[in-house]
Symmetry: C2
Subunit: 653 residues, 2 copies
Amino acid sequence: MPATLPALEDHVDVLIVGAGPAGLMLANWLSRFDIKTRIVDKRGTKIFNGQADGLQSRTLEILDSFDFVDRVWRESNHMIEICLWNPDENGKIRRSDRIPDTIPGISRFQQVVLHQGRIERFFLDSIKEHSDIAVERGVLPTAFEFDDAKAADFAAYPITVTVRTLSEEDAMPQQQQQHHKNDDGQEAPVSDGLFRSNLAADDTDDLIRAAETNARINQAESIKAKFVVGCDGAHSWVRRQLGYKLEGDSTDYIWGVLDIIPITDFPDIRQRCAIHSASAGSVMVIPRENKLVRLYIQLQATEHGQNGGKVDRSGITPEIILRSAQQILHPYKLDYSYCDWWTAYQIGQRVGNCFSLKERVFLAGDAVHTHSPKAGQGMNVSMQDTYNLGWKLAHVVKGYSDASILKTYETERKQIAQELIAFDHRFSRLFSGRPAKDVMDEEGISMSEFKAAFEKGNEFASGIAVNYSSSVIIAKQSDAKVQSNQVIGKQQLATGIVVGKRMPSVKVLNQSDARPWHLQELLKSNGRWRIIVFPGQLATRTNMQRMQELGAKLGAQDSFIRRYTPLEQSFDSVIEILTVHAGSRKDVELLDLPEAFHPFDNKIGWDYWKVYADDQSYHEGHGQAYANYGIDSAQGASIIVRPDQYPYRLSSL
Amino acid sequence: MPATLPALEDHVDVLIVGAGPAGLMLANWLSRFDIKTRIVDKRGTKIFNGQADGLQSRTLEILDSFDFVDRVWRESNHMIEICLWNPDENGKIRRSDRIPDTIPGISRFQQVVLHQGRIERFFLDSIKEHSDIAVERGVLPTAFEFDDAKAADFAAYPITVTVRTLSEEDAMPQQQQQHHKNDDGQEAPVSDGLFRSNLAADDTDDLIRAAETNARINQAESIKAKFVVGCDGAHSWVRRQLGYKLEGDSTDYIWGVLDIIPITDFPDIRQRCAIHSASAGSVMVIPRENKLVRLYIQLQATEHGQNGGKVDRSGITPEIILRSAQQILHPYKLDYSYCDWWTAYQIGQRVGNCFSLKERVFLAGDAVHTHSPKAGQGMNVSMQDTYNLGWKLAHVVKGYSDASILKTYETERKQIAQELIAFDHRFSRLFSGRPAKDVMDEEGISMSEFKAAFEKGNEFASGIAVNYSSSVIIAKQSDAKVQSNQVIGKQQLATGIVVGKRMPSVKVLNQSDARPWHLQELLKSNGRWRIIVFPGQLATRTNMQRMQELGAKLGAQDSFIRRYTPLEQSFDSVIEILTVHAGSRKDVELLDLPEAFHPFDNKIGWDYWKVYADDQSYHEGHGQAYANYGIDSAQGASIIVRPDQYPYRLSSL
């Protein structure tokens, strides 16, 4: 990788522009395949504090599929309970409700909070462990060409991006904002907290000018790419090259953010809280790791002070933001000695009109959806964009798949972006509105309506609710009509599994060593499609007979598995077969099953990690897989699962 | 730390000789205190494969208290089920029993297996994170002096150890033993697998001679120490300086060890198995991480070939060991292409006659107990030796404790060593003996007796059964007589907690954020004593009243907590108070409890991590702490817990 001394021209399979969460997720996915990838970022350093922090249950499942969720789980603050605070009849705030933060049972992970910089660190470590891809920082794209004639040829490099290396000085944003109050309680001088806020102007053009006038290290490099993915944020340079737009609007609501170690008598400071004061505005409390608490604080004074369009930034300081919080939390006291980060933003929702140029250039993350940060969605939806895209790109580059699967990126992710924006639009207005004094107060917000929106939002916010529409890689039951009498999409075969929604997880026991695993832990993100066979009770002769026949078919020299798998690769390298049988481990011997279910290798013998039992464990209970998945243990079922853990179709055996 | 260019003289609080598991555990403990520690090892490198691998539940609890058990849990192979295989009436081996490997409910961790080199890596990372202690490798102690006149003065340095640095060549053992069989099935040339086996001679004297004749880098350094701990193995140089002995005997039983990726049709190769063949000897199967399996294989041919005393090593090769295994496993086939490590050893049991010289020099690990490896005990008991010793040394060095606590090292750990040796003596004979053909076969081993020993062994092998005797830091109920009518040792106050046995763990909810924690997770190894207050239901006025009085007493300027805590240190730095109240989190507000239970700090506000509830969690059930600990929620109790998680005494409130 020419990270330090770039050649004048390079050819890559994928060029990623932007090394935030979306870009890093993509680089991480691609690190699992042997395809040439480069990732550049105009910033000279990674971030150290502030920014996004919320991680959905679904995001944690994805990070687990890349083998590093344990680092997140350990360092993060776990969000367990939400408290709603409203004004009582005297206008004093009081706790009105407690609700669980993550809906119980929805996932094996609960929502957690951890600073974006740590997530990025874990991605970087994971990328390094699996590849020689390295983030090239302080590298700015300055020119873009697209050769339309090559767009349909997937061996060709239709895109040319010119990049230039910034001087260290230009590439370093002033991001250090931590400050302690002086002993007299006055603020120590602080730097600008708004440099990445949506109240700040885009600095890309300034950086390009700086690069062009910097003769010393400013060597232009021309990168020819099969694919380019713009993960370069709300001011996306890639989006600008394509001429695409973010569509939507802004509100007048301005919110400040403080990451502080609070000194307070407010009793729920270590809970997630939504606090509506009678007339001073609202606060969201997000307890963080390392004793920090993030406060989202509505800034009423600033709203009144603005005169259309962008707000005057100069009036916003940590002291002003704190004062607003103190008014909202009154009569409780709030102060701090240590502030880790602060910013402010104007609430708005926008979504990209187009996510791709001919399935060769893609946009992801903030480049195609921006909204208010309070719902803890931004970083998650951004990472999930490229989690959706990564394996598709890789499979097309490797020749495993037809390029038509790339169209599903826009159909699947634009739907999610629109749902997100709609949710945030409604939610942020409910949050920023004044609580209704009584049922006659029509301008006020009903607190019961707010609570209902909050609870509904929780399901959305888990990321588990995502339900992709029918496509070449989502075969829902309703499609069966179109596809004549093929045995696909039989949703009733597994009533607990929804084609289009990620595979739910329950514990199963490894047949060979009795160890319990969450089924999802077996669905690692390594690019493989999977057939999960649920053969039912194997003690039943007919089920065993059916399993023998299936094994013979799958293992045959002309089986579709061998057809899709390059000759030099192992049997399970493109499509892996997993089995979960009903009933006791003790009644089944692994070696009685056909080889297709536990492939043999001359050097390492049988594969002991493919067959599982839906059985009682010694230490961790019974997963009840058949019951939870709604599969009849007499009839069985098989499920084809995409490399990103979404069931593609259900079939009978 | 003078790791590279040693001064001619140095003064240290603690000098550790030997950087195996016992030495590293001790260095790791001491890294949590600010005391001057050096650790030297005569070997030039850490180990990369082979050696010990079994980790008990109790060891995992300890590693969790140092914050890195997650790395072990993730990489290790989990041992879930044991299968016993015996000859049937025709002499063919068959599976006779399945039993759980770790007794269900005994710990939140089950026994796992992971290569010693990884454990050592985790210790090194942990030590580095908390201190500037660095293992000095290739550094050999060559002279020892003890100034008896200074033995009682704990400010003095009574011990002088001279150390010399070995040349790289001398310090590097030939430990690379991995080999693949050639394509014709013949062994590739392999190096000597026995260099650290008890069949090999002690090489310390050779190394000392090498050091003395190596003029180039051989600068002698004189280290003056308050304490020296010999963690330098079965051939302990420190033990030799003290003139102490290992007492015990050897057997005629020789066993080989193979770490291989097996190619086999033996159905339980991924289970822990104890296999007795009719007349070809026994095999223990230990499935390992990375598809490896460790086989302990009885070598009958070699036994017959020996002529008293040490066995002829030259006859032992991986091929010979494999052939024995094939005979024992017949009619199942066994072969391998890849061998990671191999060795052989002669079964024997020995225990040190003395563990300490005047509580200034201590011996730990293999220096005071050696036995056969099959029970998976050695590395565990060795680490637990220094886990017992570390905090005591640190507290005496720091002046927190009277030196009398150091005497408990020998009383506590010699008892364990003797139990271990007795267990291994019995167990290894049962394992190496020929199975009885029938009840009349008096020379044969009864397989039901073996099974009973195995099951009993499992409790011992978990490390949870350890029960320390009464001492200045273990106040059992029976001691109450001696200590008149003081309210100590009231075992009936908490029938589920045994003074002398490690504090059992159940889940409790953090009062401030509802997060469930295993109580043991709150007992981090940071050197603090802890008072765990179980005040019962705080909704009851009398219980709350009692809590107020207790808080006032503990928080008072003349409380024993402040008396034991240096003035400049925080209130909880030597003795920490944790509270677990009965009943609902929702009925209690943290700030209604006295400050002693949630200390205030000017810079960071209240402490939200001291008070817990025995309540239902949203996602992880109900820990039933009062019920499990056998504490009456009307009466309550308080438990003083040592820094190593052992309850010191129970009291009423």
